[in-house]
Amino acid sequence: MRKLLVLFLLAVIAFSLYKPLSTIEFGADRMGSIENPTTVGAYYLSKTPSELSVANVITAIVVNYRGFDTLGEVSVLFLAATGLGSILYRRRKEGEHSISISKPSSQLLQAGSKLIYPAILVLGAYVFIHGHLTPGGGFQGGAIIATGILLMMMSYKDFHLNHTVLTWIESLAGITFATIGIAGLIVGKTFLENFMPIGTLNDLFSGGIIPIIYIAVGFKVAAELAGVLDTLLSIKEK
C-alpha cells in the first residue's frame, strides 16, 4: 500500500518535471548575444574581462558579483563544522589518542602517503592561488588539501592536528574576508566593492580583491574540512 502510494507520488513528480523540461531544448542558445546582453549570464560574460580582468568567469561570479552569497556559504560551512563538533562532543580521557584507528596501517601506505602528501598540498595551493585564471578556486583547493590531510590521518595513528592552529587559520581567513568587504564599503560605495587595481587579463596579480578573497576562502575551507574529518575520525569505537 505504502509502496503504491510512493510510486504514485513519484509518477506525479515525474510528470510535472517532464512538462517544463520538454520545452527546454538541450544545448539551445538561450543566452542572447554577448554584445547586447539580455540574460544575466551574458551580462557577466560581457563585463568580466573589461570590468574585473578575471579570466575565469565563474570565479568572478562566485567571489565578486555574488560575493555576499559566498560569505554566507562560508559561514554555513563554519556552522556545520561547529555543529558537528558539539553534536559529537565527548570528554576525552587523559592520554587518549586523538585518532581512533585501531589497527596500524601497512608500511606501503605509510611510505606512499608520506611521499605524496606534500604534492597534494602543493596542488591544493596551486588550485586556489590560480583560481581566477584556471578552473578551480578556494573551495576546490581547500577540499584537495583536506583530502591530503585525510590520507595522513588514516595512515599514521599519531598524526596530530593542532586545534589551536586550525581555529586561528579559520578565524583569520574569515576576518580577512569580512575586512575586505568592509574596506570596500569604506573606500567605495558597496560591501565587497573591488577597490584594488585590476591589472591585465591572465596575470597572476589581476582581478583586484578576487585572488585575496579566494586564497582566504581556500585556507578557511581547508581548515574547516580538516576539522570535520578530525572530529569524525576521533569517535571512539565501542
Binding site: 578552473p135 577540499a143 584537495i144 574529518l229 569505537e237
Partner: protein, 103 residues
C-alpha cells in the same frame, strides 16, 4: 558530435544503474561505494558539459570526502540495512509482547 552523444548516453545509463544499485543494496558499505562511483561519473559528465570548476569540486568533495564520512558513520553504526539490534535490558523490559514479536 557522435562521440559526444555516445559517451553522454553511456555515462547516463551507468549513472542510473549505479544509483539504483546504491538504493537497492542491503550492505551499506557497498551502497556507499556505489554513491562514490556515481559522483565520479557525474564529475566526468560535468567535464563533458564544459563545467570544469564544478567537475573539480565534485571530484574532491563528492568522491573523497563524502564517501569517507559515510564510511566513518557505517563503522560507528550498523553495516547491514536489515540488521536487528541487540536490545538493552532496560529497553526490552519496557516493551510489551506485541512489539517483541514484531522484532
Amino acid at each position: 558530435m557522435i562521440l559526444f552523444t555516445i559517451s553522454i548516453v553511456v555515462l547516463a545509463v551507468i549513472l542510473i544503474g549505479v544509483a539504483v544499485y546504491a538504493v537497492m543494496q542491503k550492505d551499506l558499505l557497498f551502497a556507499v561505494i556505489a554513491t562514490g562511483i556515481m559522483s565520479l561519473i557525474l564529475s566526468v559528465l560535468f567535464f563533458l558539459m564544459q563545467a570544469p570548476d564544478v567537475a573539480l569540486t565534485e571530484a574532491a568533495i563528492g568522491i573523497a570526502l563524502t564517501t569517507i564520512i559515510f564510511v566513518i558513520t557505517i563503522r560507528n553504526t550498523s553495516r547491514r540495512e536489515d540488521e536487528v539490534p541487540i536490545l538493552k535490558e532496560s529497553d526490552a523490559s519496557e516493551m510489551d509482547d506485541k512489539q517483541k514479536a514484531k522484532i
